[in-house]
Symmetry: C2
Subunit: 140 residues, 2 copies
């Protein structure tokens, strides 16, 4: 889809296409639509960042709270969004051993109890070994 097409989308279609750029937060796309026309892909991306920057801290935490746990019940139960399933799959989180699954669950629970939001990391740019290590380090 080229930029002219993006700029001519109704808000319904814009939310349909870009609504899950911020997982489970279609309000971000619905708000960003106000900024059209976008002059470039970078401008579209900056509009997302700018909107998130305007949110109070609780709103930014809210975004994290809607993010699925890594290797959590959404992945196990098959209820992840397609985008997250692909990302978690690339990191090898869909082929954890039973032991790794329970270790990840224990660490996730501890992390959420401590910080009030889930552990989030770019699964596309990490694998299960580095993800588990980072999770332990942040709790350390």
């Amino acid at each position: 889809m080229d930029l002219a097409s993006v700029n001519s989308l109704s808000y319904e279609d814009f939310v349909e296409v870009f609504g899950n750029v911020v997982e489970k937060c279609p309000i971000v796309a619905a708000a960003v639509w106000s900024r059209r026309p976008f002059s470039s892909l970078a401008d579209l991306e900056a509009s997302y960042n700018d909107f998130i920057d305007t949110l109070p801290e609780s709103g930014k935490e809210g975004i994290l709270r809607l993010h699925p746990d890594l290797a959590g019940r959404d992945l196990q139960g098959g209820t992840l969004t397609r985008e997250s399933r692909e990302e978690q799959g690339k990191a090898g989180l869909d082929t954890l051993t039973t032991l790794e699954v329970s270790r990840m669950a224990r660490l996730n629970t501890e992390y959420k109890g401590h910080f009030g939001f889930p552990f989030v990391i770019c699964a596309r740019m990490n694998d299960k070994v580095t993800i588990l290590r980072q999770l332990e380090e942040r709790l350390g």
Copy 2:
């Protein structure tokens, strides 16, 4: 559910219970959770209003853009959330004649083109006659 139970909910359970208070915007509940413990139901409600007040105008418009059209394709297609279906049903919007459905669709389209968000009114406190009249008046 009493106040002590609400205050002891994890953010996952809080979002599960209150996530659709603002239709399709679970981020509001996920953010409001930061304000617990709530001292009363009024305090919980005020926390919702306060969070929405902090949003830039585009964010408030974004909330409206995620709201289903009255008597729109979600109602016709059976994809409305339970809460909205009940509200629209109480206003008689689920028993419109074919003529009324097409009149409502035409006015909704005109309204969205003009304002950039859908016509929203408290369906629980209105019926189809007053809803159609108000919609025409706002476009007048």
